[in-house]
């Protein structure tokens, strides 16, 4: 069952990924700007996780997306769709130009993931749905003795949905070590701090108590994410990765500001954000 992460698979270095993340953040912001709507803060917080998943971890590509043995990724926090679409476009699932059609009339790129888009496994957007679906996928994998792994990304605010905890019980009950849940632990949600809206800490102890193997990582550290995601944390247990992230990561005036949950940048704000990201890219290149 345990599939050793093949270091030979790493084509992109951490620095390459960092540069790619800058590019993807720009694409995410531009997409939200073009759509006139979107989930900015949470997209930026989970972007490095998505980057690592799709460029280092997931055994899936545009060519293998129809294969029964592909790894499955279900984005339970479906609202961070612009970041996901930016990553999928970059991986070649569809042309980057499609990002310009998000939320447009007759475009399948609606404001949450749908299976009309290549690379999307399930339609999500209502919270608390991804984990139960992934249990079904992981159970099917076990039944078929398939080697694929199943991943989902949950928001920390999303954890207030009770269905997550029904699923948390079931995943441990069925010893689904082919299942990994990643929590985008940015500590914010639409109305403010998660600790004020509905406190859910300590997350690590909760998931451990539910029978999961838990890892806490810096959700913007490519090496740490790669290490944590490369293989199940423990045989016989589902893995929960609590990725500590910064909402709005990468744009100074968006970081840790709740209103950027679904704030759409103005012309001036977009310009400033893009120039900050360009500066970050220049710095990365300079450091090389």
């Amino acid at each position: 069952m345990r599939r050793k992460f093949d270091m030979g698979k790493i084509v992109l270095s951490d620095r390459d990924l960092a540069l790619k993340s800058v590019h993807l953040r720009k694409k995410t912001l531009e997409a939200i700007y073009d759509a006139g709507a979107g989930h900015t803060g949470g997209g930026l917080s989970c972007l490095d996780i998505l980057n690592v998943l799709y460029n280092r971890i997931l055994n899936v590509s545009p060519e293998t997306f129809g294969s029964a043995t592909r790894d499955r990724y279900v984005q339970s926090k479906g609202h961070s769709v612009e970041a996901l679409y930016a990553v999928l476009a970059d991986r070649g699932f569809f042309p980057e130009a499609d990002l310009k059609t998000i939320c447009h009339y007759q475009s399948h790129m609606v404001g949450h993931p749908t299976r009309h888009i290549s690379g999307i496994e399930m339609n999500t957007g209502a919270l608390g749905h991804g984990l139960p679906i992934c249990i079904g996928m992981a159970l099917a994998g076990k039944m078929d003795s398939a080697s694929y792994r199943v991943f989902t990304l949950l928001g920390d605010g999303e954890l207030a949905e009770g269905s997550n905890w029904e699923a948390a019980l079931a995943a441990a009950h069925y010893k689904l070590d082919n299942l990994t849940a990643i929590i985008d632990h940015n500590t914010l949600q639409i109305s403010g701090h998660t600790r004020d809206v509905m406190s859910n800490e300590p997350l690590d102890e909760k998931w451990r108590a539910f029978g999961w193997a838990v890892k806490v990582v810096n959700g913007h550290d490519y090496a740490a994410l790669t290490e944590a995601l490369s293989q199940p944390a423990e045989i016989g247990k589902p893995t929960c990765i609590i990725a500590n992230t910064t909402k709005g990561k990468g744009v100074s005036f968006m970081e840790n500001v709740a209103k950027w949950h679904h704030g759409v940048p103005s012309d001036a704000e977009l310009k400033q954000a893009l120039s900050e990201l360009d500066a970050a890219a220049a710095k990365l290149k300079e450091a090389a």
Partner: protein, 332 residues
């Protein structure tokens, strides 16, 4: 000691059933469980998913005989539907089996998004639906399921009237490439159909011809319409009886034919009168310019009368006597 369950049929109704040559079968629930196990033995991809409901779903033998094909999720219906969807998305023919009341209310959002919107070929089985749990009260009734599922895109809704329709519905569902919901009760059902009858989803079955009144009924109310037609025949009225087993897609052709040819239409369902079969039929008739004397027989929009399923049926006129009276009044 519990009181004996009241009979669904008066002595006169039983006599009419005998006169019509109807034989009692088993519960649709038992027919479902036997059919599913038979199909699952031949197809290891069929997976039953239960929410501590294998007993009430008569699936204990299934679980014993095919343990690898049954997934227990505990009392967690939202999880049941999500897991059923995930299994279906990975190539399994999954059947989520849970009491209709919980399945279609508590986990409605999972049905809408994870199954219908995501378009996975999962099957949902609402057991002990309608008022099957009778005296257990409104928490355990599903009188909303047809209305809510009619309002959700991309799901076939089947309400079988007898063992034959149940078996056919389950066989259809096992092969379906789109979402399917089937609901039935747990009381023994009369067998209504002749062996040569063909079952097709979206195509109603006419059990009896006549042009005075058309009874368009669904599920376990069909027998009462059939008995009423027998009783009305003795009074000189010829009534048509249609088993509208597919509530979605609806057989509009058969409804329109009934509207054209009959003097009145009575719909019958074990469901609230809001948003169910009756309103669907009314919309079909009106939008095609047909206005005939019309009655929807079902459970009215009130707190359902306490009592066993048979009490509830009788109270709201879902009985031979009640339907005969409704039809007679409608023709006046």
């Amino acid at each position: 000691m519990s009181a004996p369950a009241p009979s669904m049929f008066t002595p006169a109704a039983k006599a009419m059933a005998e006169k019509l040559g109807l034989k009692m079968g088993r519960a649709n629930l038992e027919e479902f469980a036997a059919t599913l196990e038979e199909l699952a033995k031949a197809n290891p991809n069929i997976i039953a998913v239960t929410s501590d409901s294998r007993g009430s779903g008569k699936l204990a033998p299934f679980g014993k005989n095919l343990p690898k094909q049954l997934v227990e999720v505990g009392i967690a219906e939202q999880n049941l539907v999500g897991i059923t969807a995930g299994l279906a998305a990975c190539g399994k023919k999954s059947f989520g089996v849970s009491p209709g009341c919980f399945l279609t209310a508590r986990s409605l959002e999972q049905i809408k998004n994870d199954i219908c919107y995501s378009d996975v070929p999962a099957v949902l089985i609402g057991i002990s639906s309608g008022t099957s749990y009778g005296a257990l009260g409104t928490t355990h009734h599903s009188l909303h399921d047809l209305a809510v599922l009619r309002a959700i895109n991309n799901i076939t809704v089947i309400v079988p009237a007898d063992n034959f329709e149940t078996r056919e519905a389950i066989c259809f569902a096992a092969k379906a490439t789109k979402p399917v919901f089937v609901r039935f009760g747990k009381a023994a059902m009369f067998n209504l159909h002749k062996p040569e009858i063909k079952f097709a989803v979206g195509k109603a079955i006419q059990l009896r011809d006549g042009n005075d009144v058309a009874f368009i009924a669904t599920g376990e109310t069909v027998i009462h319409a059939l008995l009423a037609a027998g009783q009305l025949a003795e009074r000189g009225l010829n009534c048509r009886v249609i088993s509208m087993h597919s509530v979605k897609p609806l057989d509009t052709e058969t409804i329109l034919k009934a509207g054209r040819e009959c003097n009145a239409v009575v719909t019958v369902e074990e469901h609230m009168v809001n948003g169910g079969l009756g309103e669907a039929c009314a919309a079909v008739l009106l939008q095609n310019g047909m206005s005939k004397p019309f009655r929807i027989v079902g459970i009215p929009d009130e707190e359902t009368v306490p009592g066993a399923q048979a009490d509830i049926f009788r109270h709201y006129g879902i009985s031979m006597e009640g339907l005969s009276e409704t039809a007679t009044k409608l023709l006046k």
